[in-house]
Amino acid sequence: MQTETVEKKSALPELLGRNWIAIFIVLLVAFFSVVARSFFSFDTAQLIFFNGTEVFLLAIAELFVIITGGIDLSVGFVMGFATVVSSKLMVAFGNLGFSPLWSILAASAVTLLIGLVPGLVNGWLVAYLRVPAFIATFSMLGVTHGISELLTQGIPTKNLPALAGDIGNGSFMYIAPGGAISFFSRPQVARGQSVLAIVPNMVVLAFLFILLFAFILGKMKFGRHLYAIGGNIDAAIRSGINVKRDLIKAYVISSLFASLAGLSYVMKYITGKPDAGANMLLEAIAAVVIGGASMAGGSGTVGRTILGALVIAILETGLRIIGMQTFMTYILVGVILILAVIIDQVFPNRNR
């Protein structure tokens, strides 16, 4: 529970310091809306979430570990590993005679199961063998990257069932011009007429998981224990919390979300490749820190992390719309990350 401080003396600067992300998001949207007229629209809003799905998932992955005072450097390559495993499995199940839908479902289920393994190993190394999280997960980054490369031999997976792309690029709900509503499949309409698509499937899927884990983190004992571990691990141990088991769970959840990001990627881009998430570690950690979590552990919420990820997602899509190169995003995310930390130094009570 991130309670507000009791002091009611919060003057304007402190108020700004505490809510600067919200203000920043408004400014960002205003900026892009002015530069590109088409930016301020429902479609763009959906596009931001669609493009940002993996950032949201990886940010949540990172959040669970950062709350405990750890870090997971492997999320990007666990994601890549999941893209390779799931895409290969989809093809393999298809070859075994499974229908496209069953191939996708079975491959996804198996991928999510296999995706727990890196987290189990990370958590075990950190909790039982006292390997620093930085080292354990950094090594896992190498291991998952290497295995993915071995599996693909440098060739991205192809020939996935077409249905995967339909699902990955489809939306949850469609409204045809007459007002007819249909789910999952785009209705046939006359040429020139536009269909209103509402919420991309992958965004729905991602946020179902995110909401479930927001509930676990915010409302259940296990979530409270993660904050306690990050706040004072000795106190947590002495109070009888099963710290080792909870740490392993945190890393497994991280790995699960990284694998979900991998699945989302495969469904959207119909390919799997080892470096699918190679550039996303920065974004994942940045989202959590911009969301006000301390790298020392014990703070951070799903809601604020989503806001942090939203900043990055808006930047990414916005820059693309105004015709900037992707690299600009990296630079800006890096700068904003530093700014976030500086702002937190100046207003140390934010989010507490």
């Binding site: 529970m1 259940m220 004992k221 004072n232 947590a236 507490r352």
Partner: protein, 253 residues
């Protein structure tokens, strides 16, 4: 009648060093026993044996005359023996109820099968225990890091009391506090005594010892150098026992 807590002939060795050498002591309901001694005299080791951190090499522990085995801190707690260490073991990033219920959160069921942490219940229970001990903390929602040293100590004590401590062990409870806060903590100790809790205090502060304790046990180099009722002794006598100026008493058996 049997003592509430009695330790008999406790010995603990670390390699060649005998940290606690054949020490016996007891504490009764509503009694405050101060454990004093120079650094390295064995006070902390003795306390850690009672609280389950160390296992004694020799000796027995009795609770209400029943022999008990304390193999871990959890065992000690389950027998109603709570220890408050100097670092207090609070999660500073969390609020008061979360700390009082740390690791033992109350839950309620929603939708019939999902257990969620019951913040309202934990808050009202925390309020009750704080009121009972006459502890004033402006807002339970404050994180521990926003509280003063004395308030933190009070939260740690409340936690022990809430979980029905019969014996409360406090390691240097006033060491890190300002003068007025020291006084409050000592008042708190007196009120705990009135509620029938047996208290063992480790302290270096003679003032504290003489203001709250009923009995003083002096340790020196692992042995019990003496035991005095506060009303029958003086600071000078205790200090000389601590430094060993007086002839060593025969080991009480």
């Amino acid at each position: 009648m049997a003592h509430l807590l009695e330790a008999k002939n406790i010995t603990k060795r670390f390699g060649g060093l005998t940290a606690v050498d054949n020490v016996s002591f007891h504490v009764d309901e509503g009694e405050v026993v101060a454990l004093v001694g120079d650094n390295g005299a064995g006070k902390s080791t003795l306390i850690k044996i009672i609280s389950g951190v160390h296992k004694p090499d020799e000796g027995e522990i009795f609770l209400n005359g029943q022999k008990i085995h304390i193999d871990s801190p959890i065992d000690a707690i389950s027998h109603g023996i709570e220890t408050i260490y100097q670092d207090l073991a609070l999660a500073e990033n969390m609020d008061v109820p979360s700390n009082i219920f740390l690791g033992r959160e109350r839950t309620k069921k929603i939708l019939g099968f999902i257990n969620v942490v019951d913040h309202e219940h934990m808050s009202s229970e925390s309020r009750k225990v704080l009121d009972r001990l006459d502890i004033r903390i402006p807002s339970l929602k404050s994180n521990i890091r926003n509280l003063s040293g004395g308030q933190r100590q009070a939260v740690a004590i409340s936690r022990s009391i809430y979980w029905n401590a019969k014996v409360l062990i406090m390691d240097e409870p006033t060491a890190a506090l300002g003068i007025s806060e020291q006084k409050k903590v000592l008042e708190l100790v007196s009120s705990l005594r009135k509620q029938g809790i047996a208290i063992i205090i480790i302290s270096h502060q003679m003032y504290d010892v003489f203001s709250v304790a009923d009995r003083i046990i002096v340790m020196r180099r692992g042995i019990k150098a003496g035991e005095r009722l506060v009303k029958d002794t003086s600071t000078e006598e205790i200090v000389s026992l601590i430094v060993g100026a007086e002839s060593v008493e025969k080991r009480s058996q």
